[in-house]
């Protein structure tokens, strides 16, 4: 068993670094940051999130405000870069979308919210992936019309609370959050250790469970994290379980399940493209995306369940029962909730129907499995 010692020079730390180390977190390099991959163990943390509430430091992600004169002006600027309906967002409403290149390939996936803060007409709040934030923010800036500005928030941390007990836990700390609807956000006052401070909370996440993501100034992040950790239902969860949770939930990981070569239609993300945008186009790669919507894509992202106990990993070839190459696995591992190996990958459209039997080449040998509808779990999203 070989081990490598990562070069930790120049890695950044979030404001919660010392707390992770204190909790016994195993720190690993991820997207230029030293982040906890696990604390007590991936399976225990995964199960705790499904059964109670898991606390995640996701401060490495990129947060920014896009500010313009009014909602329509700011939305039109962003709609030139993403295929989602942004103009149609109501105050506080949040939407999932993708930054597209001119070929309709995905430069990143992101969350976009219309601000619900008073006196913030024309503000959109965006959260992008850590590994892509420099590229994304430069790309957005390059394409902004005069009068719209992108304001990055490196002085803000981001903490996710996920799982069925999240609502009860957060309502105690931040009254009013229990009434939020799924995919909405708002500003709240939070008081911990006698000190009040501002937070921006959205009811969303990356686990397949009900939960929240909380933006908080770096200087208040440790106090908020510690107050949440003091709740008996809450345990810290690292990147390892974040990955197994999102995989079971059928959610894409950028750079693996989606990248600049995959379109949102191939990735089965057509649900995130509004009716008006499909008809009008006006986003990068619209021609390809409208054609794929009309005719169907050549390949599709699918979920797969393996028949045996051996996991299949990213990069494994997917073949038909007769050996015909069909595609590649893009994420794979063991699903602690479904108690078996789960994976997702791309296959030729003809082989994408649920139930289709496939083989996966692992260490030179074929392993049997089948296309399965995603998510692999029953999501706990607040409806």
């Amino acid at each position: 068993m070989s081990q490598t010692s990562p070069d930790n020079t120049a890695l950044k730390r979030t404001p919660l670094y010392d707390l992770h180390v204190g909790l016994g977190g195993r720190m690993v390099p991820f997207a230029g940051y030293e982040m906890p991959v696990q604390y007590s163990g991936i399976i225990a943390e995964h199960n705790h999130t499904r059964n109670a509430a898991g606390l995640f430091d996701v401060s490495h992600m990129g947060q920014a405000w896009l500010k313009g004169a009014d909602h329509e002006a700011t939305s039109r600027a962003l709609e030139a870069l993403v295929p989602a309906d942004i103009i149609g967002l109501k105050p506080g409403q949040q939407r999932y979308s993708q930054l597209l290149n001119s070929d309709g390939g995905i430069m990143d996936d992101l969350m976009i919210s219309r601000s619900a803060i008073g006196d913030s007409e024309g503000w959109l709040y965006v959260i992008v992936n850590a590994s892509r934030k420099q590229i994304d923010f430069a790309h957005i800036r390059e394409h902004l019309p005069v009068g719209i500005v992108l304001v990055e928030k490196p002085d803000w941390a981001l903490i996710a609370l996920q799982g069925p007990k999240s609502e009860a836990v957060l309502e105690k700390l931040i009254p009013g959050t229990a009434n939020m609807s799924f995919m909405s956000g708002n500003a709240f006052k939070c008081t911990t250790a006698g000190e009040p401070y501002d937070v921006y909370v959205s009811r969303s996440g990356y686990s397949g469970e009900d939960g929240y993501e909380i933006s908080v100034a770096n200087r208040n992040a440790a106090a908020l994290w510690s107050a949440l950790m003091a709740e008996p239902d809450v345990e810290a969860v690292g990147l390892g379980a974040r990955d197994s949770l999102r995989l079971e939930a059928g959610l894409c990981l950028y750079g693996h399940d989606i990248d600049e070569t995959t379109s949102p239609i191939e990735a089965q993300l057509a649900w995130s493209i509004g009716k008006r945008r499909r008809e009008e186009g006006g986003f990068p790669g619209a021609e390809r995306i409208q054609r794929e919507l009309a005719e169907g894509p050549v390949r599709k992202r699918v979920g797969v369940l393996l028949d045996g106990r051996a996991p299949v990993r990213e990069g494994s070839e997917i073949v038909a029962k007769d050996g015909t190459p069909l595609g590649t696995v893009t994420s794979g591992g063991f699903g602690p909730t479904v108690q078996r190996p789960v994976a997702m990958g791309y296959v030729s459209a003809a082989a994408a129907a649920p139930g289709t039997e496939l083989n996966f080449i692992v260490r030179g040998k074929p392993l049997a499995g089948r296309v399965e509808k995603m998510p692999f779990i029953t999501p706990g999203y607040k409806r």
Binding site: M1, S2, Q3, S5, V37, Q38, G41, I42, I43, H46, G240, D243, S244, R309, A310, P311, R313, G333, F334, P336, P341, R363
Partner: protein, 125 residues
């Protein structure tokens, strides 16, 4: 009296006559995290030192276990197929991987004893 030796690849080897019982160390299982699958070789297979002898899969990744010695696989621990988490619970005991009948015992020379392995792990921490 058996004699437990260790490799730089974090395997332990318990030698009894010309039969070596092989597993991964407690340090190795701790580094791997939750083990969810173990693939073992077939009994009767001849392995040379450095060949892939087994695969251990954690939630996140697959790791190869290389044969630390040359010989014939005479027994594998079938319990690990149904209960891979045994590796996390008792890596240096009940969760042994394979037993190899050694071609010659001179291969054992140069392997670390418990104290030397402990020092090796600390030096590489």
């Amino acid at each position: 009296m058996t004699n437990v030796l260790f490799t730089e690849d974090h395997e332990w080897i318990s030698v009894d006559g010309d039969v070596a019982t092989i597993g991964i160390t407690d340090h190795a299982q701790e580094q791997l995290g939750d083990v969810v699958f173990v693939e073992l070789p077939e009994v009767g297979k001849e392995v040379a030192k450095g060949d892939e002898a087994a695969v251990v899969e954690s939630v996140k990744a697959a790791s190869e276990v290389y044969a630390p010695l040359s010989g014939e696989i005479i027994e594998v621990n079938g319990d690990l197929e149904g209960e891979p988490s045994k590796v996390n619970q008792d890596a240096e005991g009940a969760a042994w991987f394979v037993k190899i009948k050694l071609l010659d015992t001179s291969q054992l020379e140069g392997l670390m004893d418990a104290a030397a392995y402990k020092a090796f792990v600390e030096a590489n921490a």
